[in-house]
């Protein structure tokens, strides 16, 4: 009888614990995680590992701002050849974040456009679409290597825009 009474007393506490654990966090497992969205993403692009480990471009053993065949200057030169210019005299940044999988293929692209005050803005659509396509078509990404195998990782490219032209590429 005494035990039954004790269990009845503990029930509200156990329910409370359960509620705490199942509470939905406003955060993803890692800042910047990208979840597949069938409306946005190419279903043929696959992560090599089902679990998102949250690897970032800078977290590999040979950490560098980007691992690309021919280094960043290859991207800069390709962009120069593409001659992408906005019809408007705009300033700010377009950042495209994506996943490089263990085969060096890219997908899950997400875009952030900001002005010089770091506030959200929208660049000329044709211009931002061209920047997006240019980024999607880059095919020199080098997979992250560690522990004798290759891994998926998140990368981003930021295009600094001055007077409607890309003046620098980061990181």
């Amino acid at each position: 009888m005494k035990n039954v009474f004790l269990i009845i007393l503990l029930i509200p506490l156990l329910i409370n614990c359960q509620t705490e654990k199942s509470a939905v966090s406003k955060y993803q497992n890692h800042v910047g995680d990208i979840v597949f969205d069938e409306k946005l993403d190419d279903s043929s692009f696959k992560r090599c590992y089902e679990k998102d480990l949250g690897n970032q471009y800078y977290s590999g053993p040979g950490s560098s701002s980007l691992q690309y065949r021919g280094e960043k200057i290859a991207i800069i030169k390709d962009l120069e050849k593409a001659k992408i210019v906005s019809s408007k005299n705009e300033n700010g940044y377009i950042t495209i974040r994506f996943l490089v999988n263990c085969e060096g293929k890219t997908g899950l692209f997400r875009v952030q456009q900001i002005n010089e005050e770091y506030k959200e803005m929208t660049f000329d659509k044709k211009f931002s679409d061209q920047i997006f396509s240019f980024t999607k078509n880059l095919d020199g990404w080098i997979p992250m290597e560690a522990e004798g195998r290759t891994w998926d990782y998140y990368q981003y490219l930021t295009y600094k825009i001055e007077n409607g032209k890309v003046s620098e590429i980061l990181p």
Partner: protein, 267 residues
């Protein structure tokens, strides 16, 4: 050799020091809640930066002590490193608002390093100078540059080369200045851009004695070529250094005045 070791030792101490700064002495906090928030802040160092647990921990600590500026700064970092500059800016602005003396230099450096926002970086570093008009401003987060020199790089990027030179020369002339990894290289490149090759070479030679990386040798080669002297040996040496990995390195972004292998090949 002894000078070389001393140089690296001083930089090592600097890097260790800048990493230790993130630990706070919680006994100086003025309320029990803030002391608790401070202890959470210190404890969160053990968590993966940007993980859910870490970000939630910062929120909990902010709830306890909303005026503790370090919480906003540390919470902002993963957004910066992962390219979410909107979220980063909201948080780092809050940190600066609460404690400008502590965070202005850091925000300015990040504007430069991650966004090449030269004007924004100059504005922050100059605001910091108003707080410390004659004194020490500290170093960039990665320890590569003293902040007066970081400001000079921004002026150089904005086309104000003479001003950049004057700022770097003034800083290098200070007795208490620890010469950074790339100080003489950056000064040399700025002189080079103005066509002042003697001064450029003088600084590249000084750089060689401290830390002779591929980009520095490349510029020496460029000067030799302009002067119709034999430059091919230097070019070859620059390529060798590049392949050995002795280049300007940054784990998050690329250095200002970084030179790539193909550029050396094309000389």
């Amino acid at each position: 050799m002894e000078k070389f070791q001393k140089y690296y030792l001083s930089l090592l101490i600097l890097v260790v020091y800048s990493n230790l700064q993130s630990q706070v002495n919680c006994n100086v906090m003025q309320s029990d809640d803030c002391k608790k928030a401070c202890e959470i802040y210190n404890y969160l160092e053990k968590y993966d930066q940007g993980s859910k647990d870490s970000q939630e921990g910062f929120d909990k600590a902010i709830g306890l002590c909303p005026d503790f500026s370090n919480l906003y700064m540390e919470k902002s970092v993963p957004y910066l490193k992962r390219g979410d500059f909107i979220s980063w800016k909201i948080l780092i602005d809050k940190a600066v608002e609460l404690d400008p003396a502590r965070h202005l230099g850091y925000r300015g450096w990040c504007k430069y390093q991650f966004l090449r926002d030269y004007k924004g970086a100059v504005a922050d570093i100059e605001a910091l100078e108003k707080i410390y008009p004659t004194g020490y401003l500290g170093y960039s987060q990665n320890g590569d540059y003293e902040l007066h020199i970081a400001k000079a790089l921004c002026y150089s990027a904005l086309g104000q080369k003479e001003k950049a030179i004057s700022l770097i020369e003034n800083q290098l002339a200070k007795k208490d200045h620890n010469v950074g990894f790339y100080d003489h290289y950056q000064l040399g490149v700025t002189y080079f851009e103005l066509g002042r090759y003697d001064k450029a070479l003088e600084n590249f030679e000084k750089q060689s004695k401290q830390n002779d990386f591929a980009e520095n040798i490349y510029f020496k080669s460029k000067v030799a070529k302009i002067r119709n002297k034999d430059y091919l040996d230097l070019k070859k040496m620059a390529l060798t250094r590049y392949d050995e990995g002795r280049t300007m390195k940054d784990g998050y972004t690329h250095h200002f005045n970084k030179v790539y292998r193909t550029q050396i090949e094309e000389l």
